[in-house]
């Protein structure tokens, strides 16, 4: 189905994506059982290599790998030899020497997962868990999974669905991955942001661009609110949080502009009172907590599809029964 690595949502075909989402749906049924564990990846080693802070993504991957019986090693840059100045290459060689079958990497530099996958340092699969301002493919997959379960009576087809992504598009890997994946699934995407938070040449993206949230909300099936990422904002992109909130935040008055069955997504962590009001965040139309649950299923699916079959060495040896 999918190839050896998962580096970018833009690499996924429609068929790949549907395959991952369907696999995730089957794996979700495991959560309802008394024993929430599968023996599928027994004896495989999965490393989470996080150079940036993260709670939910790392925990989500760790839980997904453990539910599939893989051994999990958490490698955080803080408190490791990376903080002593070790390079990505040397860290990778160390992980290879320890026999990692998959490396899940989050890095502040866009392209770090690509480098890790293609430099020949390691043999295992590389999964991008967020690189700089580039991509965060499993977030886009879990968002698509969540949308599939809510829109069109849960029929699963996102073709023609109307989704808006609001906020810091410039710095958002979530937005990039989502625009690519939703487009692949045939959805109609609009990005909404102040002009200062839109990337150069956003017109070339396969989506529409708007500066006015109230203009777009009445036509949506779902809106995805992005976090204002203070840590990536070296300069000032808008005068202050209050003004941002007034022009681009989602409060209950604006939510009421949306069709009654439209839903609100947020990749978390939320800045309540900035991009989303507490009232909206706690309303039944906000599916934020469900996104977290779905994240585990989608990551189990990705791990299964990358590691569940014949390994590269066996393929090379042409081993058969």
């Amino acid at each position: 189905m999918i190839s050896r690595h998962l580096l970018s949502a833009a690499d996924l075909t429609r068929e790949d994506t549907i395959g991952i989402l369907d696999t995730a749906s089957e794996l979700a049924t495991v959560t309802d059982r008394s024993v929430k564990k599968l023996p599928t990846l027994r004896g495989r080693t999965v490393v989470t290599l996080f150079f940036e802070d993260s709670t939910r993504t790392r925990i989500s991957f760790e839980l997904a790998a453990k539910r599939l019986s893989a051994d999990v090693i958490n490698f955080a840059a803080k408190g490791s030899s990376v903080s002593k100045g070790e390079s990505l290459k040397d860290t990778a060689l160390t992980l290879e020497a320890m026999g990692a079958d998959a490396v899940i990497i989050r890095h502040g530099a866009s392209g770090a997962p690509y480098r890790l996958a293609n430099a020949g340092w390691i043999h295992g699969s590389v999964i991008n868990a967020g690189d700089g301002t580039h991509e965060h493919p499993t977030q886009a997959l879990l968002d698509a999974y969540t949308l599939r379960h809510h829109l069109r009576g849960g029929q699963g087809d996102l073709a023609g669905a109307r989704v808006a992504i609001v906020g810091d598009i410039l710095h958002s890997r979530v937005a990039r991955s989502n625009v690519a994946l939703l487009r692949t699934l045939g959805a109609h995407v609009t990005v909404i942001a102040p002009p200062t938070l839109l990337p150069y040449k956003v017109q070339s993206w396969p989506c529409e661009v708007s500066y006015d949230i109230e203009d777009v909300l009445p036509h949506l099936d779902a809106v995805m609110m992005l976090r204002v990422q203070a840590e990536r904002m070296a300069g000032s992109y808008f005068p202050n949080e209050l003004e941002y909130s007034r022009r681009y935040g989602l409060d209950s008055r604006r939510m009421a502009l949306m069709p009654p069955d439209a839903i609100v997504l947020h990749p978390g962590p939320m800045n309540r009172g900035v991009e989303i009001s507490a009232e909206v965040a706690d309303s039944p139309r906000a599916v934020v907590v469900e996104q977290v649950t779905n994240g585990v299923h989608v990551r189990m699916a990705v791990l299964y599809l990358l590691l569940g079959g014949r390994s590269e060495e066996l393929l090379a040896e042409g081993a058969d029964r």
């Binding site: 395959g19 696999t23 024993v35 599968l38 014949r310």
Partner: protein, 179 residues
């Protein structure tokens, strides 16, 4: 070597009917019975058996499917496989007599995986095994309780079951594989 039909539609119909009677008789009634088919064709056979039992007894018997892909012992020998649906009836399997249904019983490895999968779902009072065709060559100490047809084969042959639910016709065919 051409393909040879060993069971036709009416043979399959009679076999399913007989197995249904046998299952019902051994279970001494319906109260604890749960029928679980192993995808792909075991699921359709399970539904046929559940339908036949329902007709005989005049009420429905819980019927579902159990995908065993994630429990296979040969995952690493092949390309990754797509998952099939698992649906356990709402009554659950705890304390019940579960009848596993598969189309062809061969090495027994599928059933080994199914037993592992069942143990993760719950704790049945007993597990029975029904197969439309038993072609022998077991590699594990597993034996069926209900058999549609015993079919002596060599390991160089393949047995294919077709069911109208997903194929053109009801048939069981045997063919020598070119070496």
């Amino acid at each position: 070597m051409p393909e040879r039909t060993v069971l036709d539609a009416s043979d399959i119909r009679r076999a399913v009917r007989r197995m249904s009677h046998e299952i019902l008789e051994s279970a001494k009634g319906l109260d604890d019975l749960v029928i679980l088919g192993i995808p792909t064709r075991g699921v359709y056979l399970a539904r046929r058996i559940a339908g036949a039992i329902g007709e005989i007894e005049g009420r429905e018997v819980p019927c579902g499917s159990l995908d065993i892909t994630l429990y296979r012992d040969d995952l690493r020998l092949r390309e990754v496989r797509a998952l099939e649906p698992t649906s356990i009836p709402a009554v659950g399997i705890d304390g019940r007599v579960v009848v596993l249904v598969d189309d062809v019983l061969y090495s027994g490895r599928t059933i080994r995986a199914a037993l592992d999968a069942l143990a993760d779902v719950g704790r049945p009072a007993a597990v029975r095994l029904a197969a439309l065709v038993d072609r022998g060559h077991r590699e594990l100490p597993i034996r069926p309780d209900f058999i549609g047809k015993n079919l002596p084969t060599s390991q160089g042959e393949t047995v294919r079951v077709h069911l109208t639910e997903i194929d053109d016709e009801d048939s069981v065919m045997i063919r020598q594989v070119d070496q």
